[in-house]
Symmetry: C2
Subunit: 763 residues, 2 copies
Amino acid sequence: MDDRRDFSVLGRPLPRVDAYDKVTGKARYVDDMSFPNMLIGKILRSPYAHARIVGIDTSKAKDLPGVKAVITGTDLPERKYGTDPRFADEYALCRGKVRYIGDEVAAVAAVDEETAEKALDLIEVEYESLEPMFDVRAAMAPGKPQIHEGKERNVSMEIHLDAGDTERGFAEAEYVREDTFRSQPTFHAPLEPHAVLAQWSEEGKLTVWANKQIPFYIRRLLAHTLCIPEAHVRVIKPCIGGGFGGKGEMYALDVCAAYLSKLTSRPVKIVYSREESLVCTRRRHEMTITLKTAMKKDGTILAVKGELFSETGAYNSTGPLATYLATTFLNLPWKIPAVKVDSYLVYTNLPPSGPQRGHGVLEMRYAADCHLDLIARDLGIDPLDIRLKNAVHRGYRTANNMNVGSCGIAECLKRAAEKIKWREKKGKMPPYHGIGIAGMGYLSGVNLVPHTGAAAIVHVHEDGGVNLLTGAAEIGQGSDTYLAQLVAEEMGVPLEDVRVISGDTGVTPYDPGTFGSRVATMSGNAARNAGRDAMRQIKEVVADEMEANVGDLVARGRRIYVKGSPERSMPLRKALRAMQYRDLPMPVVGYGFYQAPTHVPDWFKAEDDPSATYSFGAQVAVVEVDPETGRINLKEMVNAHDVGLMINPMAVEGQLQGSIHMGAGHVLTEDVIMRDGLVMNPNLLEYKTPSPFEMPLVHGIAIETASDDVGPHGAKECGEGTEVSTLPAIVNAVFDATGVMIKDLPITPDKVLRALEEKERRG
Amino acid sequence: MDDRRDFSVLGRPLPRVDAYDKVTGKARYVDDMSFPNMLIGKILRSPYAHARIVGIDTSKAKDLPGVKAVITGTDLPERKYGTDPRFADEYALCRGKVRYIGDEVAAVAAVDEETAEKALDLIEVEYESLEPMFDVRAAMAPGKPQIHEGKERNVSMEIHLDAGDTERGFAEAEYVREDTFRSQPTFHAPLEPHAVLAQWSEEGKLTVWANKQIPFYIRRLLAHTLCIPEAHVRVIKPCIGGGFGGKGEMYALDVCAAYLSKLTSRPVKIVYSREESLVCTRRRHEMTITLKTAMKKDGTILAVKGELFSETGAYNSTGPLATYLATTFLNLPWKIPAVKVDSYLVYTNLPPSGPQRGHGVLEMRYAADCHLDLIARDLGIDPLDIRLKNAVHRGYRTANNMNVGSCGIAECLKRAAEKIKWREKKGKMPPYHGIGIAGMGYLSGVNLVPHTGAAAIVHVHEDGGVNLLTGAAEIGQGSDTYLAQLVAEEMGVPLEDVRVISGDTGVTPYDPGTFGSRVATMSGNAARNAGRDAMRQIKEVVADEMEANVGDLVARGRRIYVKGSPERSMPLRKALRAMQYRDLPMPVVGYGFYQAPTHVPDWFKAEDDPSATYSFGAQVAVVEVDPETGRINLKEMVNAHDVGLMINPMAVEGQLQGSIHMGAGHVLTEDVIMRDGLVMNPNLLEYKTPSPFEMPLVHGIAIETASDDVGPHGAKECGEGTEVSTLPAIVNAVFDATGVMIKDLPITPDKVLRALEEKERRG
């Protein structure tokens, strides 16, 4: 473990390297790009939720002047794709049938947007309607049609976790409680819609500029779908206006733009409308979770049984993974000696669900931590105490084999409670005021799928400047900045000396990208190792020039000096010059790699460790409920998070605040409202994300456990887990304020009023 | 030495990887690029050849609506630049005085081209005229003003080569002859004019898209000139529409676009007009070379004395290097036991000269090989025989220490003569028909300046595809293709599996770029070594899996097999998959580097080896002269070139043909016509490059000596030296046809007529 007091770049609240360009409007997004002869692509979508395609006539559209190409599903190679090849169930353009309102049927490329839209109107599609199913219950009912062939009862996959002796746990129970919670679908709602610009060269090489979190996966998927080698595909990620998981997949626009470019020999750009971006990409899974817990009266958890239904919509996307994560994260951060969970991923004729910040873990922790507060009330135990009593710790191994390393859950609980003055407030607040607490554990350094390792390259210029090449994708979370800080620290130079090139599969080494909270840990290690490798080469020469031991040399302030003898030093610049004038001058190139020392878990059993280490966190919410209107005033929150080590406190603070914003929206205002498969609020006016004025006062607390060496200097994720406890903390606070646990999100004013009325009626 | 018959990708006439995009118009050049909010920059130029700037008033220009910034020399950091820091004498915008008609005085950035041009008209500059000097004689005359302060007689630098005992050579001479030759200035005349697009980010990082042969040098020069670290500059070379040496430097537009972008916080594009591109960048040096040779009557050269005046125009550019190269290449390819050359680089008030294909060597070889034909005639020796007699050979060391390695000069002479049937034609042709021969040696793998080493990186994808990252700059010569071939050969994959990313200082490892015929040798070695390094990593795993020795494994046809046991093999794809599923899967990244094993020579003495190896060549020209019109009909040529090894025969053929085109233009039609410092033919209508219809029948012969291991598999340059003998071969053919040696290029019809008249007058 490094001595943190020795850092010169890490741990400092440095402004992000892309901040100025973004706030001054200079940052270039996909839609800012334009090429000579560029065509505009548009996609025709299904008006049916479930229907057979009887025939498509594109001849009129093709005849429209200005239209350069029209394609349907049968024009593309017959290749299904999916986030995981085992669950590939999607064509870029539908073949044979459509499965939701918005499903992709045809695509056109034309000289301008107007012509492209006119062409869509001229495509004639004959459908034969099939019975649609709009919820899990309907989809699983006997005798219903299969949305995807061979999927009985429309169940896409099942997970059966059975770890420890749950029967004994329930047999020994002094108290048992069962509750069912529902978490609604929500949009990612990034400000920038999905967009792609594709150019297929005459030589057969494809270049794609796309706002993607995972350029290297997109490369693989495009190669697979278009039947070309990966080496022929280059995916470049320009600036991204927010992802939150929703830009983590290949979508119809990517394949269509590429193929239209191939057909027309011209660059093709497709930018989704706001409606397409919200409805026809992904939303968060609706999950319905039933938990039944066996307790001792002193608050000790003995066993939990659970049942989970995850609604994946028309396609799998990351549904299997989300379901796996929800299932396995029942086991953190509270000790449960025995668990038995049956989880089902179910198809419906609704827009497909996919990964969203927190990805399954959030839904399970919402259910589990609200359930825990009901148990605590029944047993007469303070919610803080029941959590402290059951909190996991370093060295703990869950029933399903998750190994806890560095662990700040207890400290997070204590620091959050202290900050909010829990002991002084809990039970002593005025009527309709409430306080709630929750805790969580999260992935940090996943090995959920193959190839999650990361590589990085550092080029050192002759004047001591550094280029960092990383495949990690900056999507607004700040990775370009903190990865550069890790390199700067190794090289002993200020942050401004490092230039980051990221997220371009043509030029950066392999790194799967931004998902599963893997970047800080895995890309971070790769970047640090690359910097370290470069500095090792330089130090070897300096040691020679200065007649010192390599091990005694320290790089700092653009100098390399002998530890303990600061007078014996050499400027980095001079060292590099010395390297140039040796017999065989070599440019300094450092290479770094990191792979988590875990194995890809079996999703169907959920009995292995999915992450090399875990982050932990606790949140407290203070609310006031207006009994007249049902309106919830979210007044104050504490977000305490075990980040391992703060690479950049300003970036950490941003995540601690931003997570509260997103989580508060999830609990209070956001909902994808659907009627008969049609989204009723597909725009940012009617889909209500909180405004800055609705934000509570947030206290961010970063706990630096820094006590394992999984992440760079012990750093862990702090951009996704940070949102996980927001939901149950607020819901539990409303429970505290009203005495009613509302088990169906979002907690809109009408639900509060109804709950209060029912409570009154019951007396 | 590799067994050439074993190659699967090398030695094949594969189409260039960029060919399709270029012929279909898809290739994107700088001027095809456009960014939101982009401004257009323009430069105000001096109408005086030599004048003091008394004052500049930019206020009216600044007040013009749409003008966003106006800068003059004093707005920029006071930093002189030059190709070599020892000879830096140029400001991006003039300070204090102007030195040629076209010198840069001010620059503007405006919302469109029209406004920018109007703004130039509104800038008021007061000049005080100084005496201009338009040729070397005038510039060196006593009492003339100094164009650059401190340069006596306007001599910028002198080289005094004195090797061997020239006095003894002349004392022992049986025959002595002296001639003076003049080689005129010529334009590079690439079809694409010089262009740049610069964006200075708010964070202070500069990105420049520029059509440059040498992105990494441009990075260094921009950093130096703008007083920012190299790490803050990224130079990206898009497609280039021809360079020929003329895009090998930083020019005013680069600095101005960058600085105007800084001032305006907007992207700025500057595209030179055809006139600016021709006149205000660089032209070839006018050189006047006097050679005096001491001979034995049997044709043995005993010693040479020379004097050389190189006219550099208003600035040094690469003048010192050109002068050095001209001086040192008197010594190849004919054995000269003693040489004494005094060379002078002289400033004038003409547009600056700079590097052009052949760069000094061409001018010297023109003079020397024409001089040799005059000697041969006087001594009654066949021009072929006198060359064969004096030709250098492997192991020969010139008087000034140039070490000859692999050497095909004799074979080039013989094969060229054979092809044209020299023995049957020479002296036996009809009147006014003539045949001429010449030979040359050229640089291949220079170490003329520091930092000429090259690095390359190879990323291997999981499906066996390969990305090659090289800093070498594809400028039309085909380097992207042949570097990819070198990697493909090492990796055992077809060319199409390799994707090349080149010439982007942000992402590719260091490589100084395309100059000095260094790419095939040095970048080629780096690329090959990178591929070899990647394949070594793969073979180690395969050896383990297959229980074989690494040394026994061969990669070919996307498979790795045991030498001699083709049945024991594994597909590359499977090998890579095996690597992914090992305990610690690593992406395969190969790194390669090459540095020539020579030292940077002392230009002032010209007594060291400037190149790791040398290419050789011989050319024969057949002409018919029309005695009525003086018109020369260039009928047929042979271009025999010792390429070491043909990486791509189609690319070699292209160079052998293209060089003849450029050289024939130099001899016959091209000339920069100047009157009082003003270029009279600054456009492609009046500056006459040959059309395809004026091309002779060309026989290209590639000699594969492949007998040293300096270049990859022995490959040497074949894009620059290939033009060197074109000039003397044609001039000697005209000499043969007319009996008159015209010593002043180009040989226009009027010169031929005058020569014929004079010959007749003399009888």
